[in-house]
């Protein structure tokens, strides 16, 4: 089964990433470590693109769903946010736009300058 093998490769990277983080105390979260490992595996040809492409596409197309529980977790802190939630939302929205614009501007300007 192709799907089983794809899932195995993906989970293997997650586990290896966790091991590097927890056992070898590398201060990068296991998931991110796993992403780096997967990139290395693809780069070296250890894992072929078509061995992971299907499952990756499926997961990445449904990213938003995976954040539902984290969002619902908001319930745990409603007490603390009663008075200042609207300010926090305001700060979150404003700074997100600011960061998006600044980052895009820097990347775009440097790309044009360098070519």
């Amino acid at each position: 089964m192709k799907w089983i093998r794809q899932i195995i490769i993906l989970l293997l990277m997650v586990v290896l990433g966790e091991i590097l983080n927890k056992v070898f105390k590398i201060p990068i979260p296991g998931n991110i470590m796993g992403m780096i490992l997967m990139l290395l595996a693809l780069q070296t040809g250890l894992v072929k693109l078509d061995q992971v492409e299907g499952i990756s596409k499926f997961l990445l197309n449904h990213l938003a769903i995976l954040f539902i529980p984290a969002g619902v977790g908001l319930l745990a802190v409603t007490g603390m946010l009663k008075e200042s939630w609207h300010i926090l939302v305001f700060i979150a929205v404003v700074t997100t736009i600011l960061v998006m614009v600044m980052t895009a501007y820097v990347v775009h300007a440097l790309r044009r300058w360098m070519t």
Binding site: L11, P29, L39, L42, L88, T95, L98, Y105, L110
Partner: protein, 235 residues
């Protein structure tokens, strides 16, 4: 009554409710054609309403919720795939990409602290907001390290991601920017994996650049956050 209780405490029931809430979110989003009605935002509100109405505590919900959250790990690893497919772009644009992510992360930390001071919100709340633009697993660690409340950080991260996903299209339309690399990096740096979902819809380059930026912005923030905090409290 007991039968109902059994159902309400079954983890898979809450997986079902969550997925259905998201489907309803997609449906409303399509019908209304208003990007503010983001499917994830609708799903979260629906689930919270259901939990409150049925008087179910968060712990019970999370029995099912963690089944969904589990996939965040494999999904993060999956981000390596679009990145690998676009590795040529990364090679030729390494400096602009890294510079953009570093400046973006710095602006994020700085603007959050300055606005928190300006509005005079509680110190601990302000600190919890600092890692709001980065991916959840790294954000939680940064929050702990600088003395924030991880639960509030997670809420801020989700809020930020939804904001990024909602406004991205509009922002680049207003800026009249069509640079796929710049757009991708900007979305990933400002709105992590949630924004990346939107970037993937814009195009493969946007998605790959956004996915790449999640990890780098996270690492840059780990280094910059304590430094900027120290710097600002000194001056």
């Amino acid at each position: 009554m007991d039968d109902i209780d059994v159902l309400l405490t079954t983890p898979i029931f809450w997986v079902l409710i969550s997925l259905m809430a998201f489907e309803i979110g997609i449906w409303i989003n399509k019908k209304a054609k208003i990007s503010l009605l983001n499917p994830l935002l609708i799903a979260i509100i629906l689930v919270i309403l259901i939990l409150t109405f049925l008087n179910i505590d968060l712990e019970t919900y999370n029995q099912g919720g963690q089944i969904i959250s589990f996939f965040l790990g494999p999904a993060t690893v999956a981000l390596a795939v679009p990145l690998y497919k676009n590795r040529a772009l990364l090679k030729t644009n390494g400096i602009p990409i890294l510079a953009g992510i570093t400046v973006g992360s710095f602006v994020s930390i700085l603007s959050v602290i300055l606005l928190s001071k300006l509005f005079d919100i509680e110190h601990i709340l302000g600190l919890s907001l600092v890692p709001k633009s980065i991916t959840t697993p790294i954000g939680i660690e940064v929050s702990k390290q600088i003395g924030g409340i991880p639960e509030i950080t997670v809420a801020a991260i989700v809020m930020t991601g939804i904001t990024g996903a909602i406004i991205a299209k509009l922002v680049f339309k207003v800026l009249r920017l069509k640079d796929s690399v710049a757009i991708g990096v900007a979305i990933g740096t400002s709105a992590h994996a949630l924004g990346t979902g939107e970037a993937i819809k814009m195009g493969e380059v946007e998605g790959a650049m956004s996915g790449l930026s999640i990890g780098i912005a996270g690492l840059v923030t780990v280094i910059l956050a304590p430094l900027v905090i120290r710097m600002l409290s000194y001056f």
